[in-house]
């Protein structure tokens, strides 16, 4: 859909070769592209202005290093600036000197507070804490029930409240009592969604704050939020003094520019990022990854991390060798697909990929989990000789394989084609890795497939 910023900059600077410096003139077109990219990513327009100004300052007068193209150089400046503005450190949750630590979860309606509360509780309990959750949302129908269901699902105790506790303050008090009795060291307080201009409800929150003395007040923000993000965040911050931000729904394709706006307007760190419907889909915030996302550069680091977690290093190295020496057989192809499946939902994985060159095509490839099962079945229906040498597979063999795997000849054909493409692509990638000239692509990591 959108061209990536890197692509656009590449085009802008196409005519710039040979010029030794980045000047106000030759930067202008580039800055325009950066501005549009940031606005399309929903960064607040005032923040965009500041950002552009900063980039301009840093870029002007810089020698165009021979090792980089001007486009690469500007891309680097832009990315570095984005990371700086997002906050260079990954923040953790603070705890109170005297447990239990109280964490208040606040935000607009539908931003994802209850789901985030569940995810955070799970995250904390995995990290050695003993949290208890409580919902003080007495307004939205079935809101408290929702948190109870979530808590039961993830095995975290929930304070359900006594029948006579009908006000947020009473429920919170009850939860604190319960936490002390049951020896829980953290209380997560899920509050009702509210508009930042709803004076009564905002007052209720600040009273709740006075009563609970929370160590952390986390503002939950939807990654899809547009320009209004600064208004709501600023108001929540000025009324409550938020201490951090949870950015939700990052598993979608929103670029998440709101993150930068909120960070700039509140000065408070982004702490967590919600990346899926499951309750373990909460990650610590990494500025570099979100920066890439806002700029449309893909999340290479996140991708590598996932790979490393799930891929057996030895077999990856072996695969690397095979790719280079041209021994990449259909059997390897199948094994790679099997490994790939261990990485979890493929869409989320492909979403992390940088959208450059041929990998851009890869992003549009629809990967259906069932498809993989079919492919594995097809390869399983081949003889060992066929797997070792796909050139053998003629029309009659194709028919036999289709029958054996319960698929059609067309499907067998398309698999063979896919395999051929993969071989071709991997060869060019690995060529790049070896530093050779034949490869078009340079990737800083090993492709496990």
């Amino acid at each position: 859909m959108f061209d990536t910023l890197s692509d656009k900059l590449q085009r802008v600077f196409k005519n710039l070769r040979g010029e030794g410096k980045l000047t106000a003139e030759n930067m202008e077109a580039a800055l325009k592209e950066i501005r549009v990219a940031l606005l399309e990513a929903d960064v607040h327009f005032k923040v965009v202005k500041t950002f552009i100004e900063n980039v301009k300052q840093k870029a002007l007068g810089q020698e165009v290093l021979t090792a980089f193209s001007p486009a690469q150089q500007v891309t680097k400046i832009v990315k570095d600036e984005m990371i700086t503005m997002l906050g260079t450190h990954t923040s953790r949750l603070r705890t109170a000197n005297m447990p239990p630590t109280v964490v208040m979860i606040v935000g607009l309606q539908g931003s994802g507070k209850t789901t985030s509360t569940g995810k955070l509780a799970r995250y904390l309990s995995k990290n050695g804490h003993r949290p208890i959750v409580v919902s003080v949302d007495v307004y939205r129908p079935a809101a408290r029930k929702q948190l109870s269901v979530v808590a039961n699902e993830i095995g975290i105790p929930v304070y359900e409240g006594l029948p006579e506790e009908t006000k947020p303050a009473e429920l919170a008090r009850g939860a604190k009592r319960e936490a002390q009795q049951a020896g829980r060291d953290m209380i997560l307080v899920d509050t009702a969604g509210r508009l930042h201009i709803d004076d009564d409800l905002m007052t209720e929150l600040s009273q709740l704050k006075d009563q609970l003395q929370p160590t952390e007040i986390l503002f939950v923000a939807d990654a899809m939020t547009g320009q209004d993000a600064v208004k709501s965040a600023a108001e929540f911050h000025s009324r409550l003094g938020i201490t951090g931000v949870i950015l939700t729904k990052m598993d979608g394709d929103a670029r998440g520019g709101a993150a930068l706006s909120i960070r700039q307007i509140t000065g408070q760190p982004l702490k967590f990022v919600g990346t899926g419907e499951k309750f373990d889909a909460l990650e610590a915030f990494h500025p570099d990854r979100v920066a890439s996302r806002i700029l449309g550069m893909g999340d290479v680091l996140g991708f590598i991390e996932k790979m490393e977690e799930n891929i057996d290093r030895k077999s990856a190295e072996e695969m690397q060798r095979k790719l280079i020496t041209d021994d990449f057989t259909l059997e390897d192809f199948r094994d790679q697909l099997k490994q790939l499946r261990k990485l979890g939902p493929l869409e989320s994985l492909l979403g992390m990929m940088p959208q450059v060159g041929m990998l851009k095509e890869l992003k549009n490839v629809k990967v259906d989990e069932k498809e993989i099962t079919r492919v594995v079945a097809i390869v399983d229906s081949m003889t060992p000789r066929e797997r070792a040498n796909h050139m053998l597979i003629n029309g009659s063999r194709r028919r036999r394989i289709a029958k054996g795997s319960g698929t059609s000849v067309q499907e067998v054909n398309s698999l063979l084609k896919q395999y051929g493409q993969t071989r071709k692509m991997m060869k060019s990638v690995s060529g790049g890795l070896l530093g050779g000239k034949k490869g078009k692509f340079k990737l800083p990591f090993q492709m496990p497939f």
């Binding site: 327009f45 929702q146 269901v149 201009i197 547009g226 320009q227 729904k249 394709d253 869409e347």
Partner: protein, 305 residues
């Protein structure tokens, strides 16, 4: 009981205040239309989440007129912007689809947290006031307590509801609800679906399956598929609308949470790109806080002093 227009005005007062004030700010005190003024106007539109491309288009129209000396007075700019926005929204208007025989089936879809269930509660209230008989279908079998939430709305609005337990197949719930709607001779069946991000292919495929199930029971259904869109949504709203239209065949939009400070300008971009009409706007959490969307009134309210 305040009139509809009053409620509409009241509901979008905040929206109006934001956009109009800034347009006024920009125009006020400027005698001539210069580049700075145009740039500021562009930012005004961008700040309303209209989007860079739409904003640029509007400004381009104005630039051309300025160049041809058709506009000399800065205050005419407002008129021009108003006309342009109205033109975009009106071009996407179309009548509601009426089935040959009841029930009319309305599917409500959207991303997580956009306000589907609340909107359905309000919608049920509205349709009942218009003399319809309504049946609700709790096909969000995924989110914790979603069924209970819809049940509370069913009680509040005294509407019947078809439900199964959490985790059951949404298409099965719809199947039951369609038969119940026919047997009970209701005029409208409203189907609540689980919130899903438009990037999740498997969940979007589930929507397609729900559609197929519906067609099997009532061939011309669903008659309307409404995408619920949060007014705070930025440029991603366009992609949402695109993907949901592909999978679920969206026929209209409902813009929620307009009682905040968000402008909801993305609907202009959506109307422009996808030709989808806006049906209702949500302006609060009470049963009566759902208003029919009317492009002319919406734009007029946006701009009238």
């Amino acid at each position: 009981m305040p009139s509809l227009l009053d409620r509409l005005k009241q509901g979008i007062q905040k929206t109006r205040a934001g956009l109009v004030d800034r347009v006024e700010d920009v125009i006020h005190g400027k005698k001539e239309i210069d580049a700075d003024l145009l740039e500021e106007l562009e930012y005004t539109l961008i700040a309303a989440d209209v989007g860079v491309r739409t904003a640029t288009d509007i400004l381009e129209t104005i630039r051309q007129r300025v160049a041809r000396h058709l506009v000399n007075d800065p205050s005419e700019l407002r008129q021009l912007i108003q006309e342009h926005l109205l033109g975009v929204l009106e071009a996407s208007e179309r009548p509601l689809m009426k089935p040959d025989q009841p029930p009319r089936v309305v599917m409500v879809v959207g991303v997580n947290g956009s306000g589907k269930t609340t909107t359905i509660g309000k919608l049920a209230q509205r349709l009942k006031e218009d003399g319809e008989t309504v049946l609700l279908c709790a096909a969000d079998t995924f989110r914790a307590a979603a069924i209970e939430q819809l049940e509370v709305w069913a009680q509040r609005t005294q509407t019947d509801i078809i439900r199964q337990s959490q985790g059951s197949d949404p298409s099965a719930v719809i199947f039951d609800a369609l038969h119940a709607a026919k047997a009970r001779k209701v005029t409208t069946l409203i189907v609540d679906t689980a919130g899903r991000l438009h990037t999740k292919d498997n969940l979007m495929a589930e929507l397609e399956k729900m559609r197929r199930t519906t067609v099997r029971v009532i061939p011309d259904a669903p008659h309307e598929v409404w995408l619920v869109l949060d007014a705070t949504t930025g440029q991603n709203g366009l992609e949402q609308a695109r993907k949901f239209t592909e999978s679920a065949g969206v026929t209209g939009l409902i813009l929620t949470k307009l009682d905040g400070t968000a402008k909801g300008g993305i609907v202009v971009a959506i109307a422009r790109e996808l030709n989808l009409p806006i049906r209702y706007i949500g302006v609060g959490e009470q049963a009566a806080d759902l208003l029919e969307f009317e492009a002319d009134k919406f734009i007029t309210s946006l701009f009238e002093k």
